[in-house]
Structures are given as C-alpha cells and as structure tokens.
Point group: C2
Amino acid sequence: MSNETQQPSPEHFFETANAYQRSAALKAAVELDIFTAIGEGRADAASVAAACGASERGVRILCDYLVVIGFLTKEGGRYGLTRDSAVFLDRRSPAYMGGTLEFLLSPTLMSGFEDLAAAVRRGGTVVPDGGTVSEENPVWVKFARAMAPMMVPAALEIARLAGGPAGRRLKVLDIAAGHGVFGVTIARQNPSAEVVALDWPAVLEVARENAEAAGVSDRWSAIEGDAFAADFGSGYDVILLTNFLHHFDPPTCETLLRKVRAALADGGVAVTLEFVPNEDRVSPPIPAAFSLMMLGGTPGGDAYTYPELERMFSNAGFSRSELHRLPASPQTLVVSHK
Amino acid sequence: MSNETQQPSPEHFFETANAYQRSAALKAAVELDIFTAIGEGRADAASVAAACGASERGVRILCDYLVVIGFLTKEGGRYGLTRDSAVFLDRRSPAYMGGTLEFLLSPTLMSGFEDLAAAVRRGGTVVPDGGTVSEENPVWVKFARAMAPMMVPAALEIARLAGGPAGRRLKVLDIAAGHGVFGVTIARQNPSAEVVALDWPAVLEVARENAEAAGVSDRWSAIEGDAFAADFGSGYDVILLTNFLHHFDPPTCETLLRKVRAALADGGVAVTLEFVPNEDRVSPPIPAAFSLMMLGGTPGGDAYTYPELERMFSNAGFSRSELHRLPASPQTLVVSHK
C-alpha cells in the first residue's frame, strides 16, 4: 500500500497486477538452483549462469528481480543470499523447501485461479469434478512428495502435544495422511505408538516410503480409500486431521467429525492442523489469504476461524477443544476431546 | 522480507509462491466491478454480491483477500475503498485504470512467464516468433485500447516539455503510437502542432479514434507499418519513442535511433519514455522489475539505465541527452537533441 499521506499512486495496483511474475521468478530460480549456486559462493551473473546452465543475461535479470522482491542481496554488483533464502532455498540446507513449489505451483492448484471471477460468481471452484478434492486427484501424490519438509515443525509439535511420553501405548489414526510425516513423527518419538495412515493408494505409497525411511514400518499400517467412505476401525487414542477440514463446508466437516469421534477410545483426542484466521477474517495475512485458495480450488472449503472449528467439533459431540498456536508457523493446532 | 533479527521464517517464500493469486484476485474484482459497488456505498458481502451478480460467499472471501493485500479496508465487518482504490479502481473515477488489466494480464503477456526458467536459460523469450514483438501481434491493439488511461500524466508532461508554446508550428512523429495519446495530447495543447502516428494498421484504428475524440484529426495523419521498415518522411521537430526501446537489444535500438535522427529537422529532439532503473539495476522497484517482463516476453529487450540510453543515443549521432523524472509515475523521460 502506498502511504496514504502521499499523492494517489497506481504503483500498488501495477505491482499487484504483475504479482504473478513473482511466483514465476521464484519457481524459475528454484528450478535452475540459483540459490544453491549463490550459497556456494558464486556472486556474479556469469559464474551463477555457468553453474546453472543458463545464459548470463537471463541470470542477471532474474537475480536483479530476486533482489527487488527480497530473496537476494546485491552489494557492489555481487549477489548474496538473504538469511531466509540461505535457510529455505539453498538445496544444501536441512530446511530446504524449494521442492514444495512442485505442489504449490502445480497446474492443478493454479488452474483454480484462471477464471477466479467465475468462482466468485458461483461461490466455489469452477474446475471440473470439484477441483482439488476430486477422487484420487494425482495432485495429492505431488503434495505428499513435495510438502513434507514444510510440515516438520508442526509434526514435532503435534508429537510433543499428543504423542504421549515415550513408552506409553498409543493407537494413532492419520486421516488423509499424505506424506505420512505427522503419524511417522509420533511413531519415531514414541516407540510404543502404532500408526494407521489413511489415504488413496497412490498417496499411501509415499507415506509408506517415509515410514520405512524412519524405521517405524513395523508399527505402521494403512487403510486405503476415502476418509468419508473408509472403515476407520476403532479404539484410537489420537486421530490426526491435518490440513483436511479446510477442503469442505461445515456440514461435511461435521459429518466426518462424528465418524472421527466414534472411532476414538474414551479419553481420545482429535488433533487438527489448520490455517486459522482471526475472527476479522483478514489477519494474520497467511491464514486469512488461505481462504481464497479454497474458493479457487474447492466447491465449499474455507479457512475456518477458531470459533467455527470449535462449533463443528461441539456439534459433532466432542466435549471441548483447545487452541495451540504453533511458533514459527502460519498454522494452528486444535486439540478436541471426545 | 521477514525481519532479519527474528527467527528464520518461510512466510515470505510462501507468500511469493502464491503471489499469482494476487493478480488473479485483482483481475476478478475488476471484472466483477467490486470496487465500484463498494465505492457506491455497499459495505457488506451480501449487498456487494447482489450488485455484482455474484455469490455472497465468493464475494466475502474475495473482499477479505483484497483487505489482506491492501486494496480494501474492513472495519466492524464493513468493507470500504482505500484512497488509491477509490482513485484508480472505482469505474466512476476519471483516473480509473481497471481496464489496463485487459493488457497487463492478457494471455499473450502472461505466456512469457509459463516457463521462465527456459527464458533464463536462453536469455530471452521462449514464446514463438519473438513473443510480444512478433509482427502485427494483436496484443498491441489490446494495449492501445487498455493502456491510454495510465499514460495521461506522462503525456501531459511530454506536451509541456516538447510540445512548444501554443501556436508554435511543430511537426511530430509518434513512433509505435499505440493509443496515440502522446501525440494527440501535444496536438490538443498546441493548435499549430501536426502529428504523424506510426503503427500497425489495426493499432492505428484505435489512435485514429482517439485523435477524432480529441478533435485533432485535421492535424493528425498516419503511417502504417513497422518502425524499422517504414519511411518516416523528414523534417520532424519532435519524434516520440514511448515505451518502445525496451523491446529491443542495444544494437537494434541504435539502428532505429540513427533512422530517427535522420528524420529530425535541425534542432529537433527525440523524446523517450521508459522504465529507467538506477545503475544498481535493483531500484526503484517498478523500473527495476520491468526488466523481467522483457526477459519473459521479448528476445532481447531490457529496462535500460540512463547511462545505457545516453550511450545508445550518442552512438546514433545525437549531440546530447537530458533526463527528466516524472512526478507520480514509475517512468522517466529522456530528451535527446539532434
């Protein structure tokens, strides 16, 4: 926003109109591995271009643009990584998340924004078959492969909150498990935890790989299918609902939550990970903006406020819910007691 | 950019990955005329939805997003326009520029960013036939129809600088005239000015309409064709090069500038309107970022610094150039003397 004390200016309009180029520039830089090349000490366009197999002119223009949008520094003509780019975009960093663009900028997700006016008219996605929630949509395999790194901090916090002390027997159901990282992390932290992951078969292959890589496959099993149709079994101490409810409207969520409650043992909890905006629905920016992602990509999904989530759980028979803010994450945990 | 004194955060990465949604939301809001509906006093999602022929749910989510990205306000659940949105996005405002999105977000312009990594590898557009500079590309008709409102402040300044006092005879050539607003504005300000507009035939129709609407068609004529091939004639006092040089590499620009110089009368000037970044090439943000638009959309175009432009004019035989910053515009004027 331009400063309201200055003259009117179309600059913010112009920058927002062209904002799609920011996504494209970040994607190109990750695909070419520009950040790693600079992190390794290459500081001028010619050296970066040689390392990345690109033209010097193209690298110079791209890197200058990345300085403008805050991903690189430039001092005396030499490029450097910002602190955040070094942590998240240099492939050698353990917190590297460049791979998440495979999902975030997949044609499937982006297609929901090709005619957003039509989605606003309708009040839901205009992508055929319900957009991203269509049956066995292969974008969720991409999600499972790409998004695990972004989930690690939340997974550790869930394990801390709901994974019980190491050695306490625990039966966990991970609904729409995706990469499976949430259940797998509990199994790693608590050697007496058993985890059942539910998802479509092609997605479960990724979760199974992650369970094997973590050395917990002897305590890991799978249920193939749709969360609304599959038989959950029963007696779970913890049921995980991570980034799942936002795809559906409240009545659909409540239908699922009744089924979740029925599958919990006495004293069991549902743990929900969500983008939870404040009640004004316009803050904080990332959870508030997530609502538009659901308008573009789903028939009835939304970013729900905490009172809305609490009401859904209450309507489904849960006795009480608690909010847990996650440090260093735009997401929030809700723990709901049977 | 997150504050470097805080913990590392992927928020800027996440917001930039999703930045394409900002462009889409602005486009949807303009297409649905949301800003006008709110400017007329509708303040809740239901009333705006009724006025715009859209769903309340869709409008609520879109308007909340527009608050997050700085185009609307929200107080006590009621939406309002920001000062800049009232000036530039309410259709009833004389400075309305919502229509510029027809060009800025045209499939032709955006196609240059579908595989930006490939353009960085090559050092120029990968869109067939040279992208936006392909012969008679119909995007320039769209440009001519859409972009005139954004050009008015610069056109007035050009007329003030180079249009001569009213009554002084002046022969003006407007190269790649587009909407023709630059030449037409000189003709309006100086009743003794004669303007020749050069562009492809389909584009010239738009310029001709604008000349007629301004009541200057008796002093307005046209040359159909390509600026590199057409016969300019000679004896011009002023030759306008507005938003044209950035499409080409320096040798191509110099070839054109020699031709421009030859068509000028003694004492004549070339007036160039451009995005001119500082020599660091990363400031100010809008001119610096414009370079990427040229990488995505043209074989060899760029946003040139003032020393680069000065050198091109000098190499083409011009005696000297002067820089004129435009108030309230991201663009700059360069006046070059034969």
